[in-house]
């Protein structure tokens, strides 16, 4: 079965190719089903291929498809180990649900089939990323998902904002990619190969801490780009311009976790560096906190979720930075469930409100959309860390790891805890604003529950959000054992095994979560004037949060505007003025010289004679000087 692994990628790819050429002929709903079944097929194959791991097999499976750039050890090879299997299952599993959902969501769009081309292509790319057997191929997937993200964000390209957002996403990601590429260069320089086995197994003997730190921090830069961490998170909120299923699949469940995946995958390198881990964790914790505060003040339903995603990814970074790779991956998985759920729920809301996204214009939707409301409630509780939902287990494990590491990580633990409180607050705020209270939407809109096609995935994901956490509880470390072979040789950090400490920490975080939720419920479950007053009471800081601390403007002022000025002066002043001016100046000088010399040829015989005589004098004296 594992030799058919390539089918995992081939299914969605074939779907994409097929729909690309024949999509329009296949027609509206069928194209979507085709795409969905491609992903689902991929899911089944992965499941089948992962069976040995469930049975406890430890041996990773490698499958080389064809050579790519043999001289740098880059080939199209697949690396199938539990980590990859888990990622593949999450991607295809959540992916198929979202595909299904999208059939309903994208109903009536003139470019319906095109949408599924990109979606299928994305799944294929993401699977390439997670199944890659070497860093080069990983980079292929890494960039291709960026491409798909670009294509899907700007799917509605006639809106200038969508086009700009897609571009922004790609470019910001590229900045991270530079880090990634440089990391690969250093890796190649050090190992003369890019293959995972060649690099990771020998990391300890080849790398000195300095080199490892360089590689790790550069990988972090790449990961920060893809996973929207400080300082490169600015693209993700804008990415919400894309259709909601895209936000759910790419910008919540799968692609953005690629950074976490890469760090987990390269754990062997991070381990060697003394500072890389703390740096990653600090970036993660800060991002988690900053994004959570920004999420507090957002009014756009999707932007709340976007900042929430950034914040949750920060948790994952905190985990992998603290060497709690399993915790990180665990949270990655649970987050995929509940964040996909939240996004799809939000999409359902937007769908029924005819594309209104402003939460201030919602309220009271619970009655109109019961399924959506219920599933969203589960999602909100899950992310708020209410036991025994999935988010509780995974977030708690992360905080537990941080707490156990102590020291600097202890401080990060505090941040994480505070963030948990804020998370609960803003998620509850969102739920209340959307589903509870008085309806505030404009006239002429008649909200309704979404079609079956969209609610089925919601229910499925809600189910996963409920049970997903049980794969790895302190009482039964299922995921830990499952992933063990992937982190062979890496020293993993664990939460304390002391059950007392666990209960204490759990109580603290659950308390924080409940406190946040309660506060939000109290603040927002009342008429609009009152909570608006509540928000205004924060004064300026609320505005800052609303604007995302003005980071976008600051980047604009610090990078984009001067960069453009620089480019313009380089292009028009320096290039045309100086360089081209020099070149043309030489030409002009020669012609000027010609014009200057021309009067010497004045047509007068005597002048010619004089010139002649002067020449005679010159030649005679020169000849004499040389010979006599």
């Amino acid at each position: 079965m594992q030799d058919l692994l390539w089918l995992v990628i081939a299914f969605p790819l074939a779907g994409a190719v097929c729909l690309h050429f024949f999509g329009r002929r296949i027609g509206e709903p069928r194209a979507g089903f085709l795409a969905t079944s491609a992903v689902a097929g991929s899911f089944l194959v992965s499941l089948a291929a992962a069976l040995p791991f469930f049975g406890g097999a430890a041996q990773a499976h490698r499958l080389t498809l064809w050579d790519w750039m043999p001289s740098i050890g880059a080939s199209f090879e697949l690396h199938w180990d539990p980590l990859a299997a888990l990622m593949a299952l999450v991607v295809t599993g959540v992916g198929s649900l979202i595909h299904l959902y999208a059939i309903g969501y994208m109903h009536g769009d003139p470019r319906f089939a095109r949408f599924f081309v990109y979606m299928n292509l994305f799944v294929a790319s993401m699977l390439t990323l997670v199944l890659a057997g070497n860093f080069a191929m990983l980079f292929v997937g890494w960039e291709l998902v960026g491409l798909c993200s670009y294509l899907l964000i700007s799917f509605w390209f006639t809106l200038p904002s969508a086009a700009a957002a897609g571009k922004k996403a790609f470019i910001v990601n590229r900045i991270g990619d530079v880090g990634f590429m440089v990391a690969l260069m250093i890796i190649f320089g050090a190992f003369h190969t890019l293959s995972f086995t060649g690099v990771l197994d020998r990391a300890a003997e080849v790398l000195d801490p300095g080199t490892a730190t360089a590689i790790a921090l550069l990988l972090l830069l790449g990961a920060a780009g893809k996973s929207a961490q400080i300082p490169l998170y600015v693209w993700l909120p804008d990415a919400m311009e894309g259709p909601t299923p895209v936000s759910a699949l790419i910008h919540a469940a799968t692609m953005v976790t690629a950074g976490v995946y890469v760090i987990a995958r390269s754990a062997a390198i991070f381990e060697i560096s003394p500072i890389a881990g703390p740096v990653v964790a600090t970036v993660g914790a800060l991002t988690a906190f900053v994004a959570a505060t920004i999420a507090l003040a957002q009014t756009d339903i999707k932007r709340v979720l976007a900042y929430s995603t950034i914040s949750q990814l920060g948790y994952m970074f905190l985990a992998v930075g603290a060497a709690g790779h399993v915790a990180g991956v665990f949270h990655l998985m649970t987050h995929a469930f509940f964040k996909a759920l939240l996004f799809l729920g939000a999409g359902s809301v937007i769908h029924s409100l005819q594309n209104h996204q402003d939460m201030r214009l919602m309220g009271g939707l619970r009655k109109h959309m019961p399924v959506t409301a219920a599933t969203m409630a589960i999602g909100t509780l899950a992310i708020a860390g209410v036991p025994p939902l999935a988010g509780f287990w995974s977030k708690d494990e992360i905080l537990g790891v941080a707490f156990e590491r102590g020291g600097w990580f202890g401080l990060l633990w505090v941040i994480g805890l505070v963030t948990a409180l804020i998370t609960a607050f803003y998620m509850t705020r969102q739920f209340v604003l959307v589903f509870l209270g008085e309806p505030r939407w404009p006239d002429g809109i008649h909200p309704h529950e979404s079609p079956r096609l969209m609610t089925i995935p919601l229910v499925a994901l809600a189910g996963l959000s409920v049970v997903g956490g049980f794969v790895n509880t302190p009482f039964r470390l299922g995921l830990e054992h499952f992933l063990e072979p992937s982190f062979h040789g890496v020293e993993l950090a664990h939460p304390s095994e002391n059950i007392g400490i666990f209960i204490l920490l759990a109580a603290l975080s659950v308390g924080a979560g409940l406190a946040g939720a309660a506060a939000a419920f109290l603040a927002y479950n009342r008429p609009a004037q009152l909570w608006e007053k509540f928000e205004n009471s924060f004064g300026k800081i609320w505005g800052w949060w609303q604007k995302g601390y003005g980071v976008d403007d600051a980047y604009g002022a610090a990078v984009v505007v001067p960069g453009r000025k620089l480019a313009e002066s380089a292009a028009f002043r320096f290039d045309l003025g100086v360089l081209d001016g020099l070149v043309n100046g030489v030409g002009k000088a020669v012609r000027g010289l010609a014009a200057r010399l021309r009067p010497i040829q004045n047509g007068l015989v005597r002048s010619y004679g004089l010139l002649f005589a002067a020449g005679v004098v010159a030649v005679v004296t020169w000849m004499l000087a040389r010979g006599a």
């Binding site: 790519w68 750039m69 043999p70 080069a136 530079v178």
Partner: protein
């Protein structure tokens, strides 16, 4: 075989020129058909070329004028073979794309075929004299192509192109003469054969001067910063076919020359002067990209992007590592395909809309979805998206260059971001957003013919991106051989795998 490859286009040019004057409708089909013959021959060469082997194959040699030691010596190795194939591929496409040319079509086709002959000759020549002959003679057809069928300021651009590059070849000529004279004085036998001249014993000073003469000549052709200012003008004014061949093949003469002659003839000087070339290459990468960002004209934008891309090739070449050299050669091909396609695309929009200004476009993806799709695909190939061809060369260059030129390579990597910025921003402005200009609403999407023109290029972008071994297996033995020779005759040695600290330290030591 190789001789035939050069002469088929010449014969073709003559045949086209002799077509009856009234049958203008025949000219283009005949021209395209004739230009397919060299493609077939080149394809046969490519197929029968023994991969995995260094050294020249299909060698042909005939004495030209014995007392001067010049000979008609041709041969291909892994470095030149792909370029020959690229040339023969782009010419039919460029010709077939020239349907919008109405006046003096016959001459146009004849000049293009003559240009093809010259280009093939440059890559095949194993005799420096012969190389120079082809190197310079291609200026003439290109000059006419720009000057007669070009845009508004075509005369200025054509003359600038001619003179600027002729200045470079003047230095090259001096260098060639110097080498031949040295050879005659050292061995008593005049010779221009590359292999003979490589065996020369040059003093360090002489070697550097000659290196400089050759390098400037090729740097102008590449064009390397700061010798690039002829390129935007030439591109903007040239007709589509001219731009395609200019960017696709002509510029490669420079990088090919640097690799073949500067490294081959002056290894020690090359090793010594690596920093100079690397600095220029890196400046070119960043500078070309930065300048491309704000270009209002699509063709200019692509032109400056060429400056940036070719910087990578030069960087890889002078990194003096196997990855860098092979990456450089592969990038030559990739850039030819990608940029050729970009120019074709710009030409197609120009044929419809008669403007190349980005600001005149906008929202075109609505009326021209296929066109936009191919444009975007090509743009991503150019940006260096893995899986497409641009990435292979770029990545090999970067990974290959890092061990010897870490700092430069890291700076160069920034160019990757800039490439995304200028192309995607241009795409955003031209193809997305509302379709608000009435002139643009009537535009028609690509015709079947146009798609057929682009299809082979698009297919190659994908194929070479996924399976570059087709090239690499042929290229790498030759680049390895070049590297081995450098190691053999100089004190240079390719760094072994090591720690990053060592890498930076060794660079510090070199400078």
């Amino acid at each position: 075989m190789l001789t035939a490859l050069i002469f088929i286009p010449v014969v073709g040019a003559i045949v086209v020129a002799l077509l009856p004057r009234r049958r203008t409708e025949l000219v283009l089909p005949v021209g395209v058909a004739l230009s397919l013959i060299p493609l077939a021959v080149a394809g046969y060469l490519f197929a029968t070329f023994e991969s995995g082997v260094a050294g020249y194959q299909f060698v042909e040699e005939a004495v030209w004028y014995q007392p001067w030691g010049i000979s008609w010596a041709l041969g291909v190795d892994g470095v030149s073979l792909p370029l020959v194939v690229l040339t023969t591929l782009l010419v039919p496409i460029a010709l077939a794309a020239s349907t919008s040319i109405s006046h003096r079509l016959k001459e146009f086709v004849a000049y293009t075929l003559a240009l093809e002959a010259g280009l093939i000759g440059v890559f095949l020549a194993l005799d420096l004299f012969l190389f120079f002959v082809f190197f310079e003679v291609i200026l003439v057809p290109m000059y006419f192509i720009i000057g007669v069928w070009g845009g508004e300021r075509r005369v200025y651009a054509a003359i600038k192109f001619f003179l600027y590059t002729a200045f470079g070849s003047a230095l090259l000529l001096a260098g060639v003469i110097a080498l031949a004279v040295l050879h005659a004085s050292q061995t008593g036998v005049p010779s221009f054969a590359l292999t003979d001249l490589m065996a020369l014993d040059l003093s360090a000073g002489t070697e550097r001067w000659l290196f400089a003469a050759f390098a400037v000549a090729f740097a102008i052709k590449v064009p390397l910063f700061p010798f690039h200012t002829w390129l935007p003008d030439a591109h903007v004014e040239a007709p589509t076919a001219g731009s395609v061949l200019l960017a696709g093949v002509l510029l490669k003469l420079g990088t090919y020359g640097l690799l073949r002659f500067n490294l081959g003839l002056f290894p020690q000087a090359a090793v010594d002067l690596v920093p100079v070339l690397a600095v220029l290459a890196v400046i070119g990468i960043i500078y070309g990209a930065v300048v491309a960002i704000v270009q209002p004209d699509l063709k200019k934008l692509v032109a400056y992007s060429s400056v940036s891309h070719l910087g990578f090739i030069v960087l890889g070449t002078f990194a003096l590592t196997s990855g860098g050299l092979a990456g450089g050669v592969v990038q030559n091909i990739n850039h030819g395909i990608t940029t050729g396609a970009l120019f074709l695309l710009v030409g197609m929009i120009y044929d419809r809309r008669h403007t190349k200004q980005i600001s005149d476009l906008g929202g075109l993806a609505q009326v021209m979805p296929i066109y936009s799709g191919i444009f975007l695909f090509t743009a991503f190939a150019s940006i260096g998206l893995p899986g497409l061809n641009g990435f292979v060369g770029e990545f090999l260059v970067l990974v290959g260059s890092f061990p010897t030129l870490p700092v430069y390579t890291i700076i160069a990597a920034v160019g990757v971001v800039l490439a995304a910025i200028y192309l995607l921003w241009a795409y955003e402005r031209a193809f997305t957003g509302p379709l608000d200009k009435p002139e643009n609403q009537k535009l028609t999407d690509l015709s079947g013919r146009e798609i057929a023109l682009l299809a082979p290029l698009v297919a190659l972008m994908l194929f070479l991106g996924l399976y570059p071994r087709v090239l690499l297996d042929r290229v790498e033995p030759s680049t390895e051989a070049i590297l081995d020779r450098i190691e053999a005759v100089t004190t240079y040695s390719v760094p072994a795998p090591g720690r990053i600290g060592d890498v930076f330290a060794s660079e510090g030591g070199e400078e």
